[in-house]
Symmetry: C2
Subunit: 340 residues, 2 copies
């Protein structure tokens, strides 16, 4: 059959088309695609073959509408946070096995978090994962009363909202202890107040400094989230004459910006100053090789997904708070202080 008709995009094939081609009922096709039993192997084969030839794929909207639950898990995340580069693939991996599907909604200037979440709700996601959310806890409360929610790397309490976060306090504590053990006394922390999780990391810094009786040496520089913020922090160190012997950063992106700024000014790392990051995203690049606190994306994703799916399947399942590992990884951006 020659196609002489003007080029047109075929409208998508449906189960009914497949059924018609094979000469069976639409319901039988449905059974085959749901892997239900009660279908003879040979007709199942014929149906699958016909579906392939017609390029059939199930209409997710229709499935979501008819099924008990959409089988969607919505994810609102900010792509300018380097940790999401590992986290989203890990979420894909963790989700697939459970028969759920991920719906992504990216947060950016043109698409603020509130709008991203509205979209996920519009898709009738069975559960939501909010990554480093910056919503007010009032709004977070509203949302988590209407559907199961897990917040990753933003702790909230008193809410019906699961929390999965790396134990930033412990991680930074370990980092500072490592530095004091090396002999450092002047240790600064580059803080990122806009990142909700920062408070725990900052607390870990303060606790470790206190433990070593270095309260008087506490230096906190406030900065933003990403690389340019680290560069600004670096500028502050350079302009003041007092340069600490070590700096702990609230995340890797800040550490990267800081290191490059210092390196450009001719300061040797780690000889003149030791630097530690957090996340182990860019830090692990062989050419950077930064000492950092490793936060495991797979661990975060699996904890978040399994808690969320448990709550989707059973409303009585509790909205727990899970802290995943945050362990110091020693690489080459740290050493003993020079003038010991």
């Amino acid at each position: 059959m020659k196609e002489k008709a003007p080029r047109k995009f075929k409208s998508a094939t449906t189960m009914a088309d497949v059924a018609a081609k094979v000469g069976v009922s639409r319901q039988l096709v449905s059974l085959v695609f749901r892997n239900a039993n009660g279908v003879s192997p040979q007709t199942a084969l014929k149906i699958r073959k016909a579906a392939l030839e017609l390029g059939y794929s199930p209409n997710l909207a229709a499935q979501s509408l008819r099924r008990d639950g959409s089988k969607y898990i919505g994810v609102a995340y900010n792509s300018s946070h380097s940790s999401s580069i590992d986290l989203i693939p890990a979420l894909y991996r963790a989700t697939g096995a459970h028969g759920f599907r991920l719906v992504l909604s990216m947060i950016s200037t043109n698409h603020p978090e509130e709008r991203a979440i509205e979209e996920l709700i519009g898709h009738r996601c069975d559960g939501l994962i909010l990554v480093s959310s910056e919503l007010s806890s009032k709004r977070l409360k509203e949302i988590s009363e209407n559907s199961p929610v897990v917040s990753i790397n933003r702790r909230v309490s008193g809410l019906r909202c699961g929390v999965v976060s790396s134990d930033g306090g412990a991680g930074i504590f370990e980092a500072v202890e490592y530095l004091t053990a090396l002999g450092h006394k002047s240790i600064a922390y580059v803080s990122t107040p806009e990142m909700m999780e920062n408070q725990f990391r900052l607390a870990g810094y303060e606790a470790a400094m206190a433990k070593s009786n270095l309260n008087s040496q506490i230096i906190v520089i406030e900065s933003g989230y990403i690389e340019s913020a680290g560069a600004i922090a670096g500028g502050i160190f350079l302009s003041k004459k007092i340069m600490p012997s070590a700096v702990v950063c609230s995340n890797d992106q800040v550490a990267l910006g800081l290191i490059l700024t210092l390196a450009k000014a001719g300061i040797k790392i780690p000889n003149q100053i030791s630097v530690i990051g957090f996340d182990d995203t860019v830090a692990r690049f062989p050419f950077l090789d930064l000492t950092t606190v490793h936060q495991d994306a797979v661990e975060l994703a699996e904890a978040a997904i399994s808690n969320l799916i448990a709550r989707i399947n059973n409303e009585k399942s509790p909205a727990t708070e899970i802290l995943t590992s945050a362990k110091l990884v020693i690489r080459s951006s740290t050493s003993k202080p020079r003038s010991n």
Copy 2:
């Protein structure tokens, strides 16, 4: 009315719930949410108020199912490519105004491109945007026969598939000409064969070298896509005794990896070697300040979306090839060669 029933997530409210609360028909609610006329202002107000109180939002699956077209535009992209950090927000921005909605599908090891696209087709997207696709042209052909497709930063020809790409050949040509004008003769190119667009950038390098009669000086190092690949390329330069006086990289991520590797080995940039990137993603960070070829995400996104939507709305609209600007931005990673 006190709520003493055991805590349960409300099942999502529908138009019918809103209608019941106000005491009108479901259809009237539908009219209000579609901003159709024929509704009295006061009832429209009552309906909107009730919807707000009930937390109603339209079910996108039902809309997509019933409407003529889902009003979704599907995007398959790879988040480990730094250019997507700017591109996706730009796509959100370009899409909103046309009444379409973006559906994202991220490509990663756990979620290969083929699966990402199947998912978008499952959502019955009215059109697809493939970013730096690595599909075979055979598969690309199949897909573009079934629905409008625009390929960003991967050129294909002879297919019913729109193409929007930055003019990498011209950009790299300009970069190399700038270097030769400065007096450079030994100019290497770090190539990324897996990136389909690379061939045009490589051709631009070769053309510019030929124009300056530097054919015999052509040095091409093959590398991968991201930062670590640049580091490997740097290692190659360091191990060989012949170091070019300038290097042009196929993208910024490679340039970053290269620069850091060289800097670590004590090589000064740009004093000993000039480096140019492509994309202007990380290059523009003030602390890096790399000379690079700027590719405009907004330009790419707007061209892609407007061509795609034109083809969605009118099948006869042609699948054009659009080359967006790629212009050299001179910053501080380039200078005259040392021994001129």
